[in-house]
């Protein structure tokens, strides 16, 4: 499933489309501690988190995540939004809990 196909399902609000929506999502990854995410987030993952600060975007870029999904209505602050636009990172949002959002993506990946 590509990032675009995930967006097209309409499950999540699009905060920033990013510049590679044709990218394949390889795996789902859940973590809020950036120190751990930096080491463990697999390249090409859909990263579900409630951490919406600018460092989340840096980690997503450097660890090469395909898309960031902010769960529990977590907001992306102004600096982080600017960073997402600048770095071309796809950011989606939902009021769902982390587990539910991640499970939905996981099931779609394995459908």
């Amino acid at each position: 499933m590509t990032v675009k196909e995930l967006m097209d399902k309409g499950w999540f609000k699009v905060i920033n489309e990013g510049d590679d929506t044709e990218r394949d999502i390889e795996k789902v990854f859940c973590c809020d501690l950036l120190s751990i995410a930096m080491g463990k987030a697999p390249a090409g993952c859909a990263w579900v988190t409630v951490m919406g600060n600018i460092n989340t975007l840096a980690v997503a870029t450097l660890a090469d995540a395909a898309v960031v999904i902010l769960a529990e209505n977590a907001a992306l602050d102004e600096n982080a939004t600017a960073k997402a636009e600048q770095q071309g990172v796809c950011v989606l949002a939902t009021d769902m809990p982390i587990f539910d959002a991640a499970l939905m993506i996981h099931e779609a990946l394995n459908a």
């Binding site: 809020d32 120190s35 390249a43 460092n55 870029t61 450097l62």
Partner: protein, 140 residues
Amino acid sequence: MEDAIVLKYQVIDGEFQRAGEVSSDVKHKLKQLGVPADIVRKVAIAMYEGEVNMVIHANGGEITVEITPEQIRMILADVGPGIPDVEKAMQAGYSTASDATRNLGFGAGMGLPNMKKNTDSMDIETKLGEGTTITMVVRL
């Protein structure tokens, strides 16, 4: 090293909002040079951890990146407080980060171990009260 490309950056103290800019820039340059994606990712992760450490612990510093056809060498030099116990600092989960740092999602004590994991060699030179220089190599 006549065909080395050398990049130099300043990491500014306390600039948490900007932490990651050096690593992002290096990542883009490596991509432009056609370095394989898995190598770029390793360099980006190791550098970012180092960059964040410089912001958290060391009042900023200087990063030099040397790129040759054989390897990428990163030298992260600061004039911070130094690391009292390197062996302890290398243990996953050991952290001296402040609550403010932890609130940002950092400070889990994974930085140095993660740098080691993503590089082919890592050397730490540190002196209390004078600073730390970390040299990391990723082979191409």
